[in-house]
């Protein structure tokens, strides 16, 4: 695990240097490496694919504009997640109802779920998804980043702009809440 992170870190450093030189191939590598993750994260904060894609696009435009100032204080992935979280949270804040009761809509819009995927989705997944939606925003953010995107506590702290102890505490409370919710519905 540690070796893997070191390798990724070195690769990231190489990519950052290439990006700062304006290397389009490096940018394509970053898009391929992080694009799916950013899109997946954005989908969690939007209710339609168009919005999620917009956010992904905004993240890469922001990356393009800010990579010159990036000094490697954090991993490239963390840097990207921080940009992504900023855009996702801004989206949530500015989201207004558009003739649709958004509060009653699921976090993952039905249009994302093809019939095949819906059929494959297990009851457990549904229960987990439902439980995640009951968490507060702060708790859900850290669960998404840590459990679903594999960020370490330190990376979560960096991406969310909070102290490491806050991440630890939020995860603890989020898990306690999740277990309570899932415990209630588990036969």
């Amino acid at each position: 695990m540690w070796n893997n992170r070191v390798m990724v870190g070195r690769e990231d450093a190489r990519l950052v240097r290439a990006l700062q030189r304006g290397d389009r191939n490096a940018f394509a590598q970053v898009v391929d490496r992080y694009g799916p993750k950013i899109l997946s994260l954005a989908r969690r904060y939007t209710r339609c694919e168009a919005d999620a894609e917009d956010i992904a696009q905004e993240v890469f435009v922001a990356l393009s504009g800010s990579i010159g100032k990036f000094r490697g204080e954090a991993a490239l992935s963390t840097f990207m997640y921080r940009i992504a979280m900023n855009h996702c949270l801004k989206h949530v804040q500015r989201r207004k109802p558009e003739g649709v009761d958004l509060d009653s809509a699921p976090l993952v819009a039905p249009e994302f779920a093809s019939p095949e995927r819906s059929a494959e989705r297990s009851e457990l997944r549904d229960r987990l998804e439902a439980a995640l939606q009951t968490l507060s925003g702060d708790h859900r953010d850290v669960v998404l980043l840590h459990e679903l995107h594999g960020l370490t506590y330190a990376e979560c702290a960096e991406a969310l702009g909070v102290p490491l102890g806050t991440v630890k505490s939020r995860l603890f409370h989020a898990f306690r809440n999740l277990r309570g919710i899932l415990g209630e519905v588990t036969p």
Partner: protein, 252 residues
């Protein structure tokens, strides 16, 4: 359950605290059961991780944000609230039918039929350069900046979409790249209906009725989307009747 226990599961505990917790675990069956429950929930949650790749068209858009070309901002026009045009969520009914011209599916053969219907020939460009020049009017400087950015992005994506044809990968289309315009008239009562159309068409509609150009390479995708939309009876559990009027128009 303690915060340390969760951190232990995640491998985030300092060596000293890990040592202390390990001792406690060895003495407490309840704590071990707690640990197992946390590990189980972590494993279950990791099963929600997405393994999907990027849609090809989105990847192309993202690539256009490359730092070496900062002027090529590819922001699509923000969806200004077109979505309120439908009026109310209560009015879930849309009118009409989906009329998709045959040329959507058989690009080469349908041109004459399209011409009969529309009374005008649909121009076909013989090269990417010609095709690009057909798009050129959309890059008029009289357009707002945002629209310009979009038009620029669109022309680039059109260029990319045409690469297979120009390189001979698609024998049928080799050397024959036509741009068609599609008029989409949509009466919408649900946000999702409109958005799906927009995704397929490659842009958003800001009015209930709007004409926009679609590169021929993207027409099959648009057709599939429209047909799918036409057969969809419910959206987010609401019964809806959809109505799209789609007509191929000649590009001007």
């Amino acid at each position: 359950m303690s915060e340390d226990l969760k951190a232990f599961v995640d491998g985030e505990l300092s060596p000293w605290r890990r040592f202390l917790l390990t001792r406690k675990l060895s003495q407490s069956p309840e704590l071990r059961a707690e640990l197992a429950a946390l590990q189980k929930l972590s494993t279950e949650l990791s099963g929600l991780r997405s393994t999907e790749s990027l849609p090809a068209d989105l990847r192309a858009r993202l690539l256009q944000a490359a730092p070496s070309m900062p002027s090529q901002s590819v922001r699509r026009p923000t969806r200004a609230l077109a979505l309120g045009l439908a009026g109310s969520a209560a009015a879930a009914a849309l009118v009409a039918a989906v009329l998709i011209r045959p040329s959507l599916t058989t690009p080469g053969a349908s041109r004459s039929e399209s011409s009969k219907t529309m009374g005008q020939p649909v121009p076909a460009s013989e090269s990417v350069a010609d095709a690009m020049s057909a798009v050129a009017p959309t890059l008029s400087k009289s357009q707002p900046e945002e629209e310009m950015a979009y038009a620029s992005a669109r022309s680039t994506s059109i260029q990319q979409a045409m690469k297979p044809a120009s390189s001979g990968a698609d024998v049928e289309d080799k050397g024959r790249v036509a741009l068609s315009a599609i008029e989409v008239v949509v009466t919408i009562s649900r946000v999702e209906v409109e958005r799906r159309v927009l995704l397929a068409g490659g842009r958003r509609l800001d009015n209930a009725s709007e004409r926009f150009e679609v590169p021929r390479a993207r027409l099959p995708a648009l057709e599939r989307e429209l047909r799918s939309l036409g057969s969809q009876r419910t959206i987010q559990g609401m019964q809806v009747q959809k109505s799209l009027r789609v007509t191929l128009l000649p590009s001007d």
